[in-house]
Structure formats: C-alpha cells, structure tokens
C-alpha cells in the first residue's frame, strides 16, 4: 500500500467530463510531471487548477486539476483528480500517462479499500459508498448517504449498548454472588428488557424492509387468467407498448418486465403468462414461472374480468396470494358486471377500464397507501438497506427470540447469556467491530473500478 494508484473514476461511456483519480505518496509529483500550469507541488491543499496535460510538448487535453493533500482526503493519502474534457479516448490517454510516470492501475475497489484500511471509514460506510455509486433515484441516494454519515451505525451502536447493559448486569450478579445490594437480575427482570430490545429490532427490521424497497424497488407481479388485460395494464403503467397485446388468449408467453417510478420508488413490474390450465408445453413453463414469482414479489396485482364469472383457478390463485401484499384489479368496467365481488376485501379492489384509461390514478393511490410511500418521502432514513446487514440483524433477532424462549423456560441465566453475547457479536459484525476476514475480501472485490 505504499505505491501510488490511479484509475478513471467516472463511469465508462461518453460524458461531458471524466475524472482520473490518483492516490498515494507520489500522486502530486506524478501529475505535476505531465501538467502544464501552476507547479502543483507548491499549491495549497484542496485547491483546483486550470492547465493542460502534455506529453512531450503535445497538449493532450485541457483540464482542471484538484489537489488534495493527506490526511483529509477520501483515502487519507495525497489525492489528485484530473477533470478531462476530451471523451473516453483522451481520458484513457491521460491515465496511461499517469501510469507511465510511476502510478499503478488501481484494482477493483482499491480506493475505498485504502480509505478503510487507513481508518477513514468503517465497514458500514464502505457499503454505503457502494450504494451511493449505484443510486439511481433521489430517495435511494438519501438512504445511501445516511449509511455514509454513520447514522445507521449509531442505530446499531445503541442496540449494542442495550445488550451490553443487560450483559454487564448479569456478569455482576455472577461475579459478586454474595452481594445482595446489587440488583439481582433474575429471568423475570430480564424479560422486559429483552422484550424492549425485541421491539427495537423488529422496528428496525420492518423499516429496513422499506429501506430495501427503496433500494431494490417494489417487485410487482401482474397475474390473472388470459385475456383479462394484464399486458394492457402494464403498457398503461409504462406508457409504452412492451407486451404484445392481442385478444388471443395466451399471447404473452414469456415474462415481460418494465420499470416505473412512483414517488421516487422504482416499481419493477412483471407481466406473466396468463395463468390457466394449458396443454401447450411452452406456455406451461411460463405458468410455472409465474407461480414461483408470487413468492418473490412485494406486490401482486391480480387482474379479473368484470364481464366474466370467477373461475375455480382464480379462486385458487386468490388463495395462494392471500398472505402477500396484493390488489384486485377489476378490469373492463365498460362491460356488464358478471363478477361476484362479495368474497373480496373491498379495500383491495381497484375498478378499472384500461380501454377508457380509467382507474390508473386510483391504482397508484392504493399502492402509495399500501407501502406508505408518502411517509417514506418525509422520513429520516436511518435503517439498514443492504442484504448483509439485514441478514445479520435478522440472525440477532432470531437469537433474541431464543433468549426469550429460554428465559420463559427458566433456563439458567449463564446459558441465556451465551445467546446474548452472540447477539452482541452479530451486531458488531454489522458495523465492522467484530473482525471478519472473509467479509472484507468479498466486499472490496465487489467494488467497481475507480471509487
């Protein structure tokens, strides 16, 4: 980690400007060798300078160069960033020059790895940066920034403190058994504390689901028997002709996907092959896929035909989605109502006539309500949003439930404590206070080149 590294830090593709970032002891002197303008070794830290990148008197590009000296930089090393203007080929040429002068091409995620190894950021931050880079909606960016600022770490810290408080109390009781003036922490006394912790964790987990939703979007599945208007609804939402719409049942054989953003939250909509009993083999595979997808979805839009009586298959399907978030879209209200609706939850019904472009706003409104999207916009985003953290917190939560069970079964406190310690460790892993080698390797290799 003593050498100087460099890479193109902006995404590949054509942009107005690109940035070549150089970090390490030699960063300033290396760039100074190819920069025509002020002497960069003499300028003060955190300043920007206009000039040209030259190779043997040939001007390669007109640039702005930022000079940031250690330690107040992203990597805590000297950093120079060259803002180039000449498109990809020129930028690549600038990078090559930097490498010629002694810098080494940065490996995947190496800048951030250095920032971490130099003690600039904790693990949670590392994951946060990853999310900022990938954020494509404003809400998502806000959430990611929160992880960067350590707000989420604070949340885990406070959970950990509560665990420690219970632990120390147990320890004192065990180590000083003869002192009756220390509050003896019996199982009955621990129970409320455990329950409080359980609530805290549950809340964070629930909110983290929202966090996940912001990050990954709402996985939405459109189901229903053939020719009820699934593809039309998809098209209406996406306002483009993505699915093939015909009146021949079974036209949508494959699964068709599309995205649209509702109040800053991306909805990933999947149109499925009409679910019905079929002899057509190709279509059969599609049907099986649809059923599998039900499990993985956050929202299911179940489309019914207003004009037709409900079928056995549809009742069966309704049964399959009853534990999921779902809405019942009754399409074709322009036709005569032959559908019995008394078995449906009226709150979940959206009346639609896609043909007349009716019901779309009502549908959006119902989705907003279902996922409390208005509240998300206003809320402070302090929850976990990456899969690793959530899964560790889930493990902690499961462990805590075991603690509770053990306490209720009157298992001795020193046993109960093992799980509590485990929870403490798991929470530590989330914020990188418990050492985990494998995690580090994985994390850094996931980073895109540059950052």
């Amino acid at each position: 980690m003593n050498d100087t590294i460099a890479a193109i830090s902006t995404a590949s593709g054509v942009g107005a400007i690109s940035i070549v970032r150089v970090s390490g002891k030699e960063a300033i002197s290396i760039v100074n060798q190819i920069f025509k303008g002020k002497d960069l070794e003499q300028v003060s830290s955190h300043t920007i300078h206009y000039g040209h990148i030259v190779e043997e008197n040939e001007v390669i590009d007109e640039v702005l160069v930022s000079v940031m000296k250690a330690p107040k930089t992203y990597t805590m090393e000297d950093i120079v960033e060259i803002n180039t203007h000449g498109g990809y080929a020129t930028t690549k040429r600038v990078l090559e020059l930097v490498l010629q002068k002694g810098a080494r091409l940065a490996k995947q995620g190496e800048f951030t790895q250095r920032a971490f190894l130099n003690g600039r950021i904790d693990l949670m931050n590392v994951e946060g940066i990853m999310d900022v880079i990938e954020a494509d909606t404003e809400t998502r960016r806000k959430l990611a920034m929160n992880e960067l600022s350590g707000k989420t770490s604070d949340l885990i810290h406070s959970l950990r403190e509560k665990v420690v408080e219970i632990l120390t109390n147990i320890e004192v009781n065990i180590d000083f058994p003869e002192y009756d003036d220390i509050e003896v922490l019996t199982n009955e006394k621990i129970l409320p504390k455990i329950e409080e912790l359980e609530l805290d964790m549950k809340k964070i987990l629930q909110e983290s689901q929202t966090g996940k939703m912001i990050k990954n979007g709402i996985q939405t599945l459109i189901i229903g028997k053939p020719n009820v208007g699934k593809s039309s609804i998809l098209n209406e939402l996406l306002e483009e002709e993505k699915a093939i719409v015909t009146n021949i049942p079974g036209t949508t054989r494959d699964i068709i996907e599309g995205n649209f953003v509702l109040d800053g939250i991306p909805l990933h909509i999947i149109d499925t092959a009409g679910i019905r009993k079929t002899e057509d083999l190709v279509e059969k595979i599609g049907v099986q896929k649809s059923l599998n997808l039900i499990d993985k979805s956050d929202l299911i839009l179940f489309v019914l035909n207003n004009n037709e009586k409900i079928t056995k298959e549809e009742i069966e399907l309704l049964h399959q989605i009853k534990n999921k978030n779902y809405l019942i879209l009754i399409n074709k209200t322009d036709l005569k109502q032959n559908l019995q609706i008394d078995q449906f939850d009226s709150n979940k019904i959206v009346w639609m006539s896609i043909k007349n472009h009716k019901g779309l706003e009502e549908l959006k409104e119902k989705i907003r309500k279902l996922f409390e999207l208005e509240q998300i916009e206003m809320k402070d985003f302090t929850y976990l949003s990456n899969a690793r953290s959530i899964s560790l917190l889930k493990k902690s939560y499961e462990s805590l439930k075991e603690v509770k069970k053990a306490i209720q079964k009157n298992i001795p406190i020193d046993m109960v404590e093992i799980d509590l310690r485990n929870i403490w460790n798991l929470l530590g892993e989330i914020i990188g206070e418990t050492y985990d080698e494998e995690l580090l390797d994985q994390l850094f290799s996931r980073f895109c080149l540059g950052k």
């Binding site: 971490f116 003036d181 298992i411 406190i413 020193d414 046993m415």
Partner: protein, 620 residues
C-alpha cells in the same frame, strides 16, 4: 550452592511452583524471607470464590496443591451461585489462617528434591540475557539455570496508614529493596500497584445479635478430585453479615482528606484494584448508595481475629476507630489490627511469554502478584504453570500453554500477557468468553490429561479419570437407549413431579433435557449404578447440550484465528498503514497469532485487516 531451579518467594505462587518442579524430579530451592510466612494469607481468610474457586479446581486437576490444602484446613465451605447455572458455580472456603500454612509447609518439607531456605534476594546473576542464579543481600550467590520469581507484594513495599508511609511488607516484614531496580536495569518495565486490607476485630467484642448469620453448605463439598471430605458439616464456623450506616458514611466523607489515597499522602502513584475498592472509594464512587455490605469472617479457630470484609481503608487510626464503631454490632468493637494500604513494584506482564518466561531474560520466570495480579488463587495458578514450564524448558520440551477455551488459568495468563494491567488483576467469570466450557464440575475432564502428560498426575489418578470418562459415555448411551411411553403409571408420575405429559415415546436422554427434570427423576424409571459425579456430569452435558455446542462453535472460530501465526521476526514498523497506537501496542505485546492480536486493546478490526493483508503479502 547449585540447584536446577530456584523459586524466590514462599507465597501461594511459590509453593505451587516449587512443588511442581520438585515433583517433576528437579532439584529445587525455595528461598523465602521468613519460613513462618510460607503460604501465608495476609489478606482475606478465604480460598475460592467466583471464578477463583474454579481455578483451584483446575490447579487440582493439573496436579497442584492448593485444592487439597484448602480441603485440609477450611472451617467453612459453600457453593456460590448454586441457584444459577452450572457454568458459574464455584466453591468458596473459609480457610483457617493457622492450619492452611501449617499444612502447606508440611507438604513442602516432605517433598523430595525440595530445599527450603531463608534469605532476602536482592539481585539476579544474568549472563548473555540468560539467568544463572540469584544473589542474597549478604552477597551469597546461589546458582540455578531456571529462576522463578514469586515475590508477591514484597518489591519495594510501602505500608500506608493515613499520612504515614513505612517501607515494609505485610506483617511488618522487611521488603526487597533493590530487586525491582535490578529487574529494571535488565530492561523489564516496572509498574507500581497498590492494594489494601481491612481491620481485624476481636471476636469477643462483637454483638452478634445485630448481625445476620451466613452458614456453610449442608452438603459435603471438596475442591480436590482425589480425596473424600475431611471435615464435618456441623463443625463449620459461620460468617456474619452487617451493613454500613449513614453515620459511617458521614465519618468517611468528613475525613476524606485524611485518607492516604485522598490527599493524606501526596506521593501515592500505585493503582488500586477496581474490583476490591476501599470503603472510601465505594462511598465516593457510589454516592447515592445508602449502605454497603460487610462480612465478618473468622480467620482461625486458634485466635480471635475477625476479618472485616469490605471495609479496607487507608484512613488514620483515629478515624478507623470512629468508622468501625459506627457499624451495627461493632459499637464496642476492639480493633486488633488496623486497615492499611500497601504499595509495591510489579513487572508489566506484557514482558512475559505465555509460558510465563520473560521475553528478555532466558530462564527467568515470573508468577503471582509480581505480574500485577491480585488473589491467592490467581497466584497459585500462575505459580503452577511457571513451575511446570521452567521444568519443561529444563527438559527441553514444549511449554504447557492452556487455551482460553480450556481453563481460567489460560484466560488469566493470556489476559496478562496480551492486555497488560492497569490495576491489580482479578479473575472474573466475565473475563472468560467460553465459561460454559470452563465449569467447576469438569475441571478434571478438561485438564487432568495435561497434568498426566507433564508428570504431576500419577497413573492411579489418571486411570480413575479414564474410568470416569468411560462411565459418562456409557450412561449417556443408556439414557439414549431407554424410552418412556405414555402409559398410565408414567403419566401419573410425570404429573406428580409437575412436568408436561408425553404423547409419544421419549428417550430418557430427551426427558432429562427438561429444566425441571433431574437425575433422581430419571432413576424413577431406571436403576443407574454410577458414581454421583458421573450422573452429575451427564445431566449437565445432556441438559445444556445445545448451549455447549454453541460455545464450542464460538471457541472453534477463536482457535482458527489462533492458528494464524504471526512470525516472531515480524517488523511492525514495516506495516506503514497501521494506526500508530496499534503499531505501538503490537510492538509491545508482540502477539504470536492473529487471535491474540485481536484481543489487544487499542488494536481495532481495521488494524487486524491491515496486518492480515501484510502477512498474506509477505507469505507470497
């Protein structure tokens, strides 16, 4: 004069060290300032206690003497935390302060290969960073290729009462004036520590009607795995419990500036034990607490002193008089000995390898309070390990290193050499992360094998261990092979003992897992002809099987990191990205593995990552 091994100091560490060396067949000298003070208990009259009691069992399992000696000489014994789980139970005995040293001295005197001599050691003979022997204050040289220092609080000891400071050790004994300076010259880091002891009260001057009684257990208990109890339950002597009063607190607050530690003495540099604070410390630090608990503990059957546990102080005598007389039942108490604080030199324990040999001087081992610990049991445990390892190094064998998941002694030594000490180190169950594995009941199963391997456990005792292990496995199998079924008589019995009924067949092994079911209930269904200790062991292993598995899994993770070795010749200065605090700590402790490095305070996970990256890089 010439010995193979010289042990300096006859306290609890010195006794174990010299016995271990002599028992392993090496000519050993135990040299002490005063033979009368061998195995002396200058502070509290008890052996054992939370965590410490388990250490005594471990010493016994390894072939040490403390457990056996305590069994011979106590006047009361009880199991602490009996109502809590098996992982935290520990024995505590009130040892007779006359009988305990007397019995120990007898054992030492009868030990082959062991010579006991009086003398004050003031210097070491060291050549080429290797110890060759010791020098007494009169200049006499005694040669030995291994030297174990177990000097307790006797290095430059100062006794402090109020504004008075005297250079003397416990009981007014002469301390060693120069040894710690010479250790410093040899390059060892010396620190100053402090501890204290409370008043002794005349038994006949106490009004016991104002106290509550604390009796010993009404079942027989022993520290040792090898001998039956040698006392009678009904002969046990009780302790008594009292509380401080508002008046006590007022007296202390009004006189605070007279205590040595609160301004009475301006030159106190020693750091006192956090876990055994003086009464003035307790009142200052826990100002909102209305009262503090005090125990009246008899020191011996042969004299009148009652040890006033919890009342240690460095106040001048006149204030101590007022303080003691403010206590219920002690209004007219006669103080036989006043409380005092003692300040002494110790060696900063990161100077040690995990064998307890110093890193800088070959052949020099340290054990006990000189390493910054407090407590008889901690001292004895270290003494035993230092003795074993001094002998093993003579025999050119690998040292005995106990791991953190194997014993409290291992936890103790690892803590000392990894974390150093700021105040006198006391062993606590909370210091052991795998304490469910480190139980009172299984000390023999954990450690006897080692004791046998190093030659301190004889064949007969070893065979008994093997037999016990065999019976445990057998009994488990029996319980797994036998089922109860929901027939009426069985259901009636289950209902009668208040446990839930069964619908299908259930093995006895499963049934015993229920918290409310004990081996006696199992014996309702099947006759079990096994030793009590076997039944107890099987019940614990069965009932807590799931938790024990979890603890083992955690321990395995730790052991894996322990296997990632850090080469001895590593230059931490070459790892540029380490935080400077981490670098300094790593250089000081020089951990042998990544596992140990993680436990150093001031070295955080990011530093460990950097260290790992570096090690991977250099290994390529």
């Amino acid at each position: 004069m010439n010995y193979e091994i010289i042990v300096v100091g006859g306290g609890h560490a010195g006794c174990e060290a010299s016995l271990a060396c002599a028992r392993k067949g090496h000519s050993t000298l135990l040299i002490t300032g005063n033979i009368k003070n061998i195995a002396d208990m200058p502070c509290n009259p008890s052996i054992g206690g939370s965590a410490k009691g388990i250490v005594v069992r471990e010493i016994d399992a390894l072939g040490g003497e403390m457990g056996n000696n305590a069994d011979k000489s106590h006047i009361q014994i009880k199991m602490l935390n009996y109502k809590k789980g098996p992982a935290v139970q520990a024995l505590r005995a009130q040892a007779d302060k006359i009988t305990y040293p007397k019995e120990m001295l007898k054992t030492l005197k009868n030990q082959k290969n062991l010579t006991i001599q009086e003398g004050m050691v003031e210097n070491l003979i060291v050549e080429d960073q290797t110890v060759k022997g010791i020098v007494l204050e009169d200049g006499t040289k005694i040669f030995g290729s291994r030297v174990i220092l177990t000097t307790g609080t006797y290095l430059k000891a100062d006794i402090m009462v109020g504004s008075e400071r005297k250079r003397q050790g416990p009981h007014g004994e002469r301390p060693s004036m120069h040894l710690s300076d010479h250790l410093k010259e040899l390059g060892l880091q010396i620190i100053r520590l402090k501890t204290g002891t409370p008043q002794r009260i005349d038994k006949d001057s106490i009004d016991y009607s104002k106290t509550s009684i604390e009796k010993g257990d009404s079942v027989y208990r022993t520290f040792s795995f090898d001998y039956p109890p040698r006392y009678k339950i009904e002969d046990q002597v009780p302790c008594h419990l009292i509380y401080t009063t508002p008046e006590t607190h007022k007296i202390i607050r009004d006189n605070l500036n007279k205590a040595s530690m609160y301004g009475g003495l301006s030159d106190v540099t020693g750091v006192g034990p956090r876990y055994c604070p003086s009464i003035e410390d307790k009142i200052v630090r826990f100002a909102d607490k209305e009262r503090h608990q005090l125990f009246l503990e008899p020191e011996s059957l042969y004299y009148n002193d009652i040890y006033l546990q919890g009342f240690s102080t460095s106040m001048p005598h006149d204030v101590q008089d007022q303080m003691v007389h403010s206590l219920p039942g002690l209004e007219h108490a006669k103080i036989l000995k006043y409380a005092y604080a003692i300040e002494y030199d110790a060696v900063y324990p990161t100077e040690l390898k995990n064998s307890l040999e110093t890193k800088k001087i070959k052949g020099l081992f340290l054990a006990g309070q000189i390493n910054g610990t407090s407590g008889y049991e901690e001292a004895a445990g270290q003494g035993l390990i230092a003795g074993i390892n001094a002998a093993l190094s003579l025999e050119k064998k690998e040292p005995l290193i106990l791991k953190r998941n194997e014993s409290y002694i291992g936890v103790l030594i690892d803590d000392l050499i990894t974390k150093g000490v700021r105040d006198p180190y006391r062993l606590l169950t909370s210091r052991a992360e795998y304490r469910l594995l480190l139980r009172h009941d299984n000390a023999d199963l954990r450690l006897r094998e080692y004791g046998y391997k190093v030659g301190l456990i004889d064949e007969k005792r070893y065979q008994r261990l093997l037999e016990k292990k065999k019976q445990i496995e057998e009994l488990k199998q029996v319980l797994k092979d036998n089922k109860i079924t929901p027939i009426k008589s069985t259901l009636d019995y289950l209902e009668q003992i208040g446990t839930s009924l069964i619908k299908d067949g259930m093995t006895l092994y499963e049934l015993l897992k229920r918290p409310e079911i004990h081996m006696e209930h199992i014996e309702h269904f099947i006759k079990l002809d096994y030793l009590d200790e076997v039944k107890e062991q099987v019940e614990i292993q069965d009932k807590y099987e799931g938790y024990i598995k979890k603890a083992n899994k955690e321990a395995a993770k730790m052991l894996e990191l322990e296997e990632k070795k850090i080469p001895e010749n590593i230059d931490f200065d070459q790892i540029h990205n380490l935080a400077s605090e981490a670098k300094q700590k790593l250089k000081e402790v020089h951990p042998t593995s990544i596992g140990q490095a993680i436990r150093i305070s001031g070295v955080n996970p990011a530093d460990i990552s950097i260290l790992m990256f570096y090690l991977k890089k250099v290994s390529k």
